[in-house]
């Protein structure tokens, strides 16, 4: 029987497996995906948000615990566990050397990422390179790895883990770490959570999944039904406005539409519905998916003119292009008159000061609802471009409640040998909203805690079993 069974194959699972192995436990890791799709959503990530009190290796300036905490507080509107959030923040300052030791490489601040290089450490090559490094290290250390092994259920007795099932196969272990992700690729569950909107539509029908197709939330659902305590709610998720032509799964980073703050976004009635200039795109972009999800037909259109071309990250698919707004509206499939009217009203409301897309500038609208508070330039220079967007779910927040030992709780009592890490518990820290790189910070911190605690619990079990044998 292995000491530690890790269910999942992404960043948190690998951190747990590596820590447990380093602590001397025997470890088996079960990844639902085949090898070429291993790593879950972690393979789509790019960086980790990391606290630091002074310039350090790849980190510029300083990013204090307090500032980091204020950022968490701001994006979550207070739906967070301060104790656990601060635990993650502090852990984020100390994990980079350990990551390097396991082959993860960071890159120096780069052209497009200067604003994030103060707060985030970038993985050389991105999350898939990180996942590859962790798997190589795990194999070298002797962690058992099984691909294409989706766990269908776990056996729990009095809040204790007994065994996991892959179909009919029963795998016993002394302890278990659950790090199997959320439920974003379970369409039925998404539909159930989002229900029917005021237009009689099922919004979740139109969601695209930005990440892995393997996060079905099977164990999350089972654990909650077995009485495990949960956090957050099933409609909360990291949701980005992505190109409507994005693939159903694994569109990742490149399908997001960066043009939003440079123009306006309208719904299928050609009406604006939110402030496109509220904040910088990286800070706000995780909200636009949700905003689009609340619109009729769950569809939006980002409209820009030629003046701003070359100022935002180039989109992966070319947008619709037309010399007039009316022509553009026809190409996009929205009412030309309504779009012209919306743009006319918007243009008239623009108070252009000094345009600067690198700061919160003074270009704004007056007397317009909703306002555009920054970067408000009239849309008047053809050709015009339009991008159709859909809600893209990155990951869900509904998860298992936990504490600083990463233990799963049943009716407020922590399990002695069942631990949770990553997306399955991220909702403890992140009840809603998002700030770039926090997911990896939570996954790394709790993956490492869960692995350590599981190894410890397994050894305690070893010792107590040894004691039983001795007395027998």
């Amino acid at each position: 029987m292995v000491d530690v069974l890790v269910i999942g194959g992404g960043n948190a699972a690998l951190c747990a497996a590596l820590m447990a192995k380093e602590a001397g436990a025997s470890v088996l890791l079960l990844e639902a995906a085949p090898k070429e799709w291993r790593g879950g959503n972690s393979s789509h990530t790019r960086n980790i948000r990391a606290m630091h009190d002074e310039p350090q290796d790849v980190m510029l300036e300083a990013y204090s615990e307090e500032e980091y905490w204020q950022d968490v507080l701001k994006v979550t509107s207070g739906i967070t566990d301060e104790f656990l959030a601060r635990l993650v923040i502090r852990a984020s300052s100390q994990c980079r050397d350990w990551m390097r030791h396991h082959g993860v490489r960071f890159q120096a601040p780069l052209s497009g990422t200067l604003n994030l290089s103060r707060t985030n450490a970038f993985f050389m090559g991105g999350g898939k390179a990180l996942v590859n490094a962790y798997y190589r290290s795990a194999e070298k250390l002797g962690v058992g790895i099984r691909y294409e092994s989706p766990v269908s259920s776990v056996e729990i007795q009095d809040g204790k883990f007994i065994a996991a099932y892959i179909g009919d196969e029963r795998i016993e272990a002394k302890t278990c770490v659950l790090a199997a992700g959320g439920f974003e690729s379970n369409r039925e569950w998404l539909k159930e959570a989002w229900g029917t909107n005021q237009y009689g539509e099922s919004p979740a029908d139109n969601f695209l999944i930005r990440g892995t197709r393997y996060n079905k939330g099977v164990l999350l659902k089972q654990l909650i039904s077995l009485g495990a305590d949960s956090v957050s709610d099933p409609t909360q998720a990291h949701m980005v406005a992505v190109d409507a032509r994005a693939p159903l799964y694994d569109g990742g980073i490149c399908t997001r539409i960066d043009a939003v703050s440079f123009g306006i976004v309208v719904n299928k009635n050609a009406q604006r519905f939110s402030d496109e200039g509220e904040d910088f795109w990286p800070k706000r972009y995780a909200f636009w998916g949700r905003l689009v999800a609340q619109q009729p037909g769950q569809i939006g259109y980002s409209i820009i003119d030629s003046k701003v071309l070359g100022r935002f990250m180039p989109p992966v698919f070319p947008g619709e292009k037309a010399d007039t707004l009316a022509e553009l509206a026809i190409k996009l499939g929205i009412d030309p008159k309504a779009l012209q009217e919306t743009v006319k009203t918007y243009n008239a409301a623009c108070r252009v000061g000094t345009f600067d897309h690198t700061i919160l500038d003074d270009c704004h609208t007056e007397g317009l609802e909703p306002a555009k508070t920054h970067w408000a330039l009239p849309i008047d220079t053809g050709p015009f471009y339009g991008y159709t967007v859909r809600p893209g779910v990155t990951f869900t927040y509904l998860g298992l409640k936990t504490d600083e030992t990463a233990a799963v709780h049943f009716n407020g009592v922590s399990s002695a040998n069942l631990f949770v890490a990553g997306e399955m518990m991220a909702g403890n820290v992140l009840g809603k909203g998002y700030a770039a790189g926090i997911g990896m910070a939570i996954g790394t911190a709790f993956g490492r805690i869960a692995g350590t605690q599981a190894a410890k619990a397994a050894q305690i079990l070893n010792q107590s079993q040894g004691a039983e044998h001795a007395t027998a």
Partner: protein, 381 residues
């Protein structure tokens, strides 16, 4: 105008599925992702653009060192439906570059089945020298000649034959390179750009993987061995070149004629170079045989291997010649060695050898470009 548009449309349709159009498609995806920015110069060079014209693709393809890191790190690599494989498409475009810029133009076709071309050139050259020496010498195994090659072929005969072929090959490479340089509109060379490009070429900076751990070969693990074996090959070659140059100076300016003593500068340089050209190509061949099948362009393997094996054969025949130059085997060994060298000279502008020149040109453009202002001002990401 309408006719022109129709022609443009037709040209675009014809281009679908070509390496150039595939590179364009993949680079659009890369440019919207950019996770690989730290690996090598290709990705920062890509971020300076939003369009990937054939000229740009040509430049980026020759800047790519085929290290494989971006493929293993790519979230869009096969089996993802985007099917991004930059090392492969860049290798395909590079082959097109060599063919397009070859001079005379019709000789570019020699790249298509380069392995065969090299084999035939080498076989004919060896046969030629064997027959020639048999003819001049009466036999292939005369008595010991004390290492005096010129007793078999006169110095002037050799200088004329090799000088003419080498001269033509260098001219052909230079013409191709000038056309390539103009095609990628490289700009004005500054001293600092030239110095940086030289450094990057001589250190093979971009086989370091961006983190100094090296590049990929059989899987996602990094290795410095490709870089090291490449260095053995390159510096081995340069030492052999230096040996020949020193010998030429000795001959014409100092009146010192071959054979040279074992402790003379030409022999020491040549021997060290020869050892480098044994270790490097042998290592590169081993790595090439174990290379991940997803890397690069499989159709170019025969070219890569023919070149590697040819360098190895030049070296081993040269070292054997040195070892047995005082024996009756010298005439035959000399003919074989000269045959390999002649085969190499003949195929220089139409084989793997040319890649170094295009790569250095691309590195130089990269160094020039880095020093220019970037006009793209992307949002605060």
């Amino acid at each position: 105008m309408q006719q022109l548009n129709a022609l443009v449309k037709e040209a675009n349709e014809l281009a679908i599925g070509t390496p150039e159009s595939e590179a364009d498609r993949m680079l659009q995806i890369c440019n919207a992702c950019r996770y690989c920015e730290g690996f090598c110069a290709v990705f920062p060079a890509m971020t300076r653009r939003i369009e990937f014209t054939p000229s740009v693709v040509n430049y980026l393809a020759n800047l790519c060192h085929n290290c494989g890191a971006c493929l293993h790190a790519c979230q869009y690599a096969p089996p993802h439906e985007f099917g991004v494989n930059i090392p492969r498409v860049m290798a395909q475009v590079r082959k097109d570059t060599y063919m397009t810029y070859a001079w005379p133009k019709s000789f570019g076709a020699l790249y298509k089945s380069n392995g065969v071309v090299v084999s035939v050139a080498v076989s004919l050259s060896i046969a030629f020298f064997l027959l020639l020496s048999a003819l001049l010498n009466g036999s292939l195994s005369s008595g010991p000649l004390d290492g005096n090659f010129y007793a078999v072929f006169s110095h002037n005969t050799l200088a004329l034959m090799f000088g003419a072929v080498f001269g033509f090959s260098i001219l052909a490479i230079a013409i191709g390179l000038i056309h390539f340089w103009r095609g990628i509109s490289a700009g004005v060379i500054s001293a600092s750009a030239a110095a940086e490009a030289t450094h990057d070429a001589l250190t093979l900076k971009y086989l370091g993987g961006g983190h100094g751990d090296g590049c990929n070969n059989e899987d996602d693990a990094f290795s410095l061995w490709r870089k090291r074996f490449h260095h053995f090959t390159f510096y081995g070659f340069m030492l052999c070149f230096a040996a020949t140059s020193v010998a030429t100076i000795y001959h014409y300016f100092l009146g010192l004629h071959a054979p040279y003593a074992l402790n003379s500068l030409p022999v020491i340089l040549g021997t060290l170079g020869g050892i480098g050209l044994l270790i490097g190509p042998a290592g590169l061949l081993y790595l090439n045989l174990h290379r991940n099948s997803e890397h690069g362009d499989a159709s170019q393997k025969s070219m890569d291997r023919a070149f590697i094996v040819l360098l190895f054969m030049i070296s081993i025949s040269g070292l054997l010649l040195l070892a047995y130059r005082d024996t009756s085997a010298m005439v035959a060994l000399l003919a074989v060695h000269l045959g390999f060298v002649m085969g190499f000279f003949l195929t220089m502008p139409y084989g793997k050898f040319a890649h170094g020149f295009y790569r250095v040109a691309a590195l130089l453009k990269n160094s020039i470009e880095k020093r220019q202002k970037n006009h793209l001002q992307f949002g605060a990401d």
